[in-house]
Symmetry: C2
Amino acid sequence: MKHKVTIRDLAKAAGVSVTTVSQILNGKGQRFSQATQQRVLELRDQMNYVPDFNARNLIMRSSKTIGVLVPNIGNPFFSTFIRGVQEAARQAEFMPLIFSANHEEKLERYYLGRLIERAVDGLIIASSSITTDTIEQLLKPNDIPYLLFDQNEANGGDRLLIDDYQGGYLAAEHLAGLGHQHVVSIMPENMTDNLNHRLRGLIDGLRKHHVDFNEQTDVIYGELTKHGGYSCTKGVLEEHPTAVFAANDEMAIGLYRGLAENGVSVPDDISVVGFDDIDLAEYVTPKLTTIQQPIREIGEQATKMLFNRIQNPDTAIQTSYFGVKLVVRDSTKQA
Amino acid sequence: MKHKVTIRDLAKAAGVSVTTVSQILNGKGQRFSQATQQRVLELRDQMNYVPDFNARNLIMRSSKTIGVLVPNIGNPFFSTFIRGVQEAARQAEFMPLIFSANHEEKLERYYLGRLIERAVDGLIIASSSITTDTIEQLLKPNDIPYLLFDQNEANGGDRLLIDDYQGGYLAAEHLAGLGHQHVVSIMPENMTDNLNHRLRGLIDGLRKHHVDFNEQTDVIYGELTKHGGYSCTKGVLEEHPTAVFAANDEMAIGLYRGLAENGVSVPDDISVVGFDDIDLAEYVTPKLTTIQQPIREIGEQATKMLFNRIQNPDTAIQTSYFGVKLVVRDSTKQA
């Protein structure tokens, strides 16, 4: 196998030493003749020489990369989040290395290990299954800056906080205002703190409006995916609610399918409220009423906070808050 | 900023030289005492030492990474494709570095340049806007193995071929069999070869069944996204077709929205056929009739072919073919 064009090839073609080429390419070629400088630069372009980053990497002690670990790249929430990360990373000339762990903790550990081996400068971990243990074992000893998102609150690093409680509360006020007296929620079994806050906000909002919520029977559990929402259908129908609050839009869209298959109409028979406002929310029928998070901005801000931490490792704990808002579309109506 | 645990830290803690540690960790520690070997291995675990891949990288002349460039990570087609890539890559202990260029050629060139700098071992380029020029300029001189997917056929490298023509033909036979006499197609303006084949198969299939297709007026153009399909609505309605063949499922789902907003019912007023069979196809209402590609298998096969090329650079041109099939759901009915 041939190799990429090296500095040696370039030196040979120019008839000068590797050191000469290196100095000219690094803008330190003043002591060489104009002709030599020009020849080297022209050959660089002609031969399509690209410097070896791995060598530079060892010298600079920075790989100019950040790792981004998401649970499920198939959820439009994360593709939009990644878009925000990519934009902020590009401005800073960093490369974001993206990994999707399909909600598997084993795969997450695997990818984290490989990312550390490759000396990423920092990590954004937007993943619900990673444990504090893993973080303690893998990240802290290697002293890699990281930022958690959608995580449990146990540990003390930088983090992004979304007003999930307010989101649940807004959903409750909207549904109670429409006269709904029996609301159920669909949630994953292993609820991370952000989801607990959404549910807590919903319950408090409903109770404020004198709508009862039975935590034993009014939460139906499924995976945090379209298929998970779909799998909640039977459980939801058995409770005879007039409205459903879904943990996220993906679950809501999965439930849409199950309700349609059972001849139950949204919103005529059951109102549905989602969470996230992924782009798909406007493309399903009926259009989904949901709680909007500024997903792309969250991705950008996560990246900026991480860069700040990489450049200023001793900076105080950083926390960013994002508000949410209710977007009323066609999936909710008067009870 | 502190650094990750280095081999020096480990040597210091063990009270031996860096060379000793290196030999023990690389399984060449036989000449040292059992006690020394054990001490080093225990300290490695205790201190969570992870070897520096960038150093190894320079020695091994392989970064054990492949770059994967997709046009739009938000399209479920590509998230499923990436899942296939991840699985095959993991088996080979390679890391796939994933980049989404949002259909922007400039961004594609940027990411390609950065990936080459980082000495990826190979590239999977699943992107419609990259040009032969870019490939000639960036990839060939650096002699990086690559595999094209969803591309124009101009160049001679390894490639995956899907039976797109057959897909269009199957859609035509299905619609003609249902008695449709006026079918239109929604397509992006810059049609890559795979899309040309889909359209050509459709037209040939329709004509075979004596259904006319006017290439001047029966193709309505929009972007290859949900929003693009939505933007075709007016153009479609002006042609008064009884059925629509969409370039992909995303466009079909976008058109669903536009038709619903105009009070046009699928399939009662207009039948719709998509292409890809993304997971979402079963979650929209009505469920989408579409042409199924084995997306995950395609991602796996792309990765295996690339690994073969990396390991055997002089192997003959590799080509893999994948068939497609029609999946009839609820978006098509008798005309």
